[in-house]
């Protein structure tokens, strides 16, 4: 840009030079025009970038780093650099694999059932009949609950002595569901599925409504019955949303913390000790080394899942 003098005729060239000499501030302003624009850009992205730098990228790297240090059992003794050995010991430990197993179990118990119920409810409520608004509102209503709200409600209803669910299950006064090695994890999963049903329902309903009506009408004219239309038209068109809900659900289940903390605290006998709760427990015990290794593992597991999801977002970024 400052090479303005190269191309134009000699007269203009002379004038530019003269102009620059005559009007020095003008010359500076010229530099300033793109410079000012860039300054505005940086100023606008700075707040977000600063937060990301301090609370996302720096701590992520530091988490990896902290995994190299073994924390001594006494706070007064400094932690010791142990290289990869802590990564090795934690990631090969029984506790880690057990917690990972619980987490996978939890994912299997929550994600497919949650989606199935979401699609089912959305399909059920996708009809123009009297009173359907009531049902729709009701099915969406659990989005208004938080994990903590849902957990406290179910915890109280599952109370072994006065809980209504315990009474109905005929185990009142005995051992509670949440105290059962067999049933604790399924119970936590149930609470999670219930709490998420509103969200899944909204997601699936929106996807159903986005299906072009003429496709269904074309199928009807082609003689496809209701069931056939569902399997051949609706479901295939719903599949991106189902996939999406699956990925989102897996990520959310790996991060499920509140319900474990409020319902079982990882018990009974570690039967609900999922990865995230194991991480939290290590952290509470000031075992930052182990906790950091677990956080690193969690990061890479979720990264793998997210990357699958990103391949879909990517399209929206480039072609949106």
């Amino acid at each position: 840009m400052s090479d303005a003098g190269l191309a134009p005729g000699a007269a203009a060239l002379g004038e530019v030079a003269a102009g620059a000499a005559r009007d020095a501030p003008n010359g500076r302003r010229r530099l300033g025009r793109t410079g000012r624009e860039a300054a505005v850009g940086y100023l606008f992205v700075l707040p977000a970038m600063a937060i990301f730098a301090v609370f996302v990228f720096y701590p992520l790297l530091r988490t990896f780093w902290l995994g190299f240090f073994r924390v001594a059992p006494y706070p007064t003794i400094p932690s010791k650099f142990v290289g990869l050995s802590q990564y090795k010991s934690v990631l090969t430990s029984h506790d880690f694999w057990a917690s990972l197993g619980r987490t996978v179990e939890f994912v299997i118990l929550t994600v497919p059932i949650g989606i199935l119920l979401g699609v089912g409810l959305a399909t059920l409520a996708d009809a123009r009949i009297r009173g359907i608004r009531f049902f729709r509102t009701l099915y969406s209503s659990t989005v208004a609950t938080s994990v903590a709200v849902a957990s406290v409600i179910f915890f109280t209803l599952l109370n072994p002595t006065v809980g209504l669910f315990s009474y109905w299950l005929g185990i009142e006064g005995g051992n509670g569901i949440l105290q059962s090695n067999t049933w604790a994890l399924p119970a936590v999963a149930t609470v999670t599925v219930w709490q998420n049903i509103g969200f899944t329902f909204i997601l699936m309903s929106a996807a159903l409504q986005a299906i072009p009506q003429d496709l269904l009408e074309a199928a009807r004219i082609d003689g496809a019955g209701g069931r056939r239309r569902f399997w051949r038209v609706t479901l295939p068109l719903l599949s991106p949303t189902v996939f999406f809900a699956g990925v989102v659900g897996i990520i959310a289940s790996f991060q499920a913390f509140g319900q474990i903390d409020l319902l079982t605290q990882g018990g009974p006998d570690n039967h609900t000790m999922v990865l995230i709760y194991y991480l939290y427990t290590s952290f509470q015990n000031n075992d930052f080394g182990t906790a950091s290794v677990l956080a690193t593992a969690l990061f890479f597991i979720l990264l793998a899942v997210t990357l699958v999801q990103f391949r879909f977002i990517e399209r929206r970024v480039f072609y949106g």
């Binding site: 089912g120 009809a127 969406s140 406290v152 991060q255 991480l279």
Partner: protein, 273 residues
């Protein structure tokens, strides 16, 4: 005939599903209006003939619910406003301002979507300690003042604006800030509103982070307050139910007031997961 049965069958299924989905909330409402003795009574009362409202008052006095709700409001509103401001500014810059490394920085923003909060928990807790923010509102607010989801969503929306509008405004003498405030923001109210509702909901429901950076009631949010509530004794079981309802109430109101934005926010916000 088949059509008739189809409709009846659908209503039957809708009703069964409604009972299953709605029962936990229904029984919470019922139990919040009963005395602990009535709740423990068998067979159980499924309809409160003589509602008792005392449990709601006790939730405020015995379980400090007012304080928790206030703290949650402070934290959530601050986070929502901050996220909106930082996301709008960054998304605007990524759409309408030319500067070196713009693309790179945008991908940096996108990359934050791949970092779950849990992976940064330990150093972040230490950072809060280093800043002297343990048990303060900044600890609950500052780390969430920017959102990769927000930048991404709003940039997608801003890209839809005709670029001619920006050129026209430039010639009309409007700088970036005024173009942003007078044209971009008014034209994108729906998506900004949707993201606002999403941000509010996410912030309101936070659990793990508030748990580890606070231990004092003076700043604890209502989600952590529920943890205290849950540990009330069985003779206050009606207070537990009443308190839980109160904790969920603001979001219920939000849902009713901003149904459209909420639905859009939830489905759009689902990019994050």
């Amino acid at each position: 005939m088949g059509r008739h049965w189809g409709r009846t069958g659908r209503y039957a299924l809708l009703l069964v599903a409604a009972v299953v989905v709605g029962f936990p909330i229904y029984i919470t409402v019922v139990n919040s209006l009963l005395t602990p003795q009535q709740i423990a009574h068998r067979p159980p009362t499924l309809f409160p003939l003589h509602p008792q409202w005392g449990a709601f008052a006790q939730a405020f006095t015995d379980a400090h619910l007012g304080l928790y709700l206030r703290n949650s409001a402070v934290v959530t509103v601050s986070i929502t406003v901050a996220e909106l401001v930082t996301s709008v500014l960054a998304a605007y810059a990524f759409t309408f301002v030319q500067f070196p490394f713009r693309r790179v920085l945008f991908f940096v923003c996108l990359a934050t979507l791949m970092v779950p909060m849990e992976a940064t928990l330990i150093p972040n807790r230490q950072t809060i300690g280093d800043f002297g923010w343990y048990n303060t509102f900044p600890a609950l607010i500052v780390p969430f003042m920017a959102s990769g989801v927000g930048v991404f969503l709003l940039r997608q929306a801003f890209l839809q604006l005709p670029h001619d509008l920006h050129d026209a405004a430039t010639l009309d003498g409007y700088g970036h800030l005024r173009f942003l405030m007078r044209v971009v923001v008014p034209l994108n109210r729906p998506i900004i509103g949707a993201f606002g509702v999403y941000a509010f909901l996410t912030a309101w429901n936070q659990y793990l982070w508030p748990l580890i950076v606070t231990d004092s009631d003076s700043v604890r949010t209502v989600q952590i307050g529920l943890r205290q509530l849950q540990s009330l004794s069985i003779d206050q079981i009606n207070v537990i139910f009443a308190g839980t309802l109160l904790a969920a109430l603001p979001i219920f109101v939000l849902l009713l007031a901003f149904q459209k934005q909420l639905i859009r926010g939830l489905t759009a916000g689902a990019v994050k997961g």
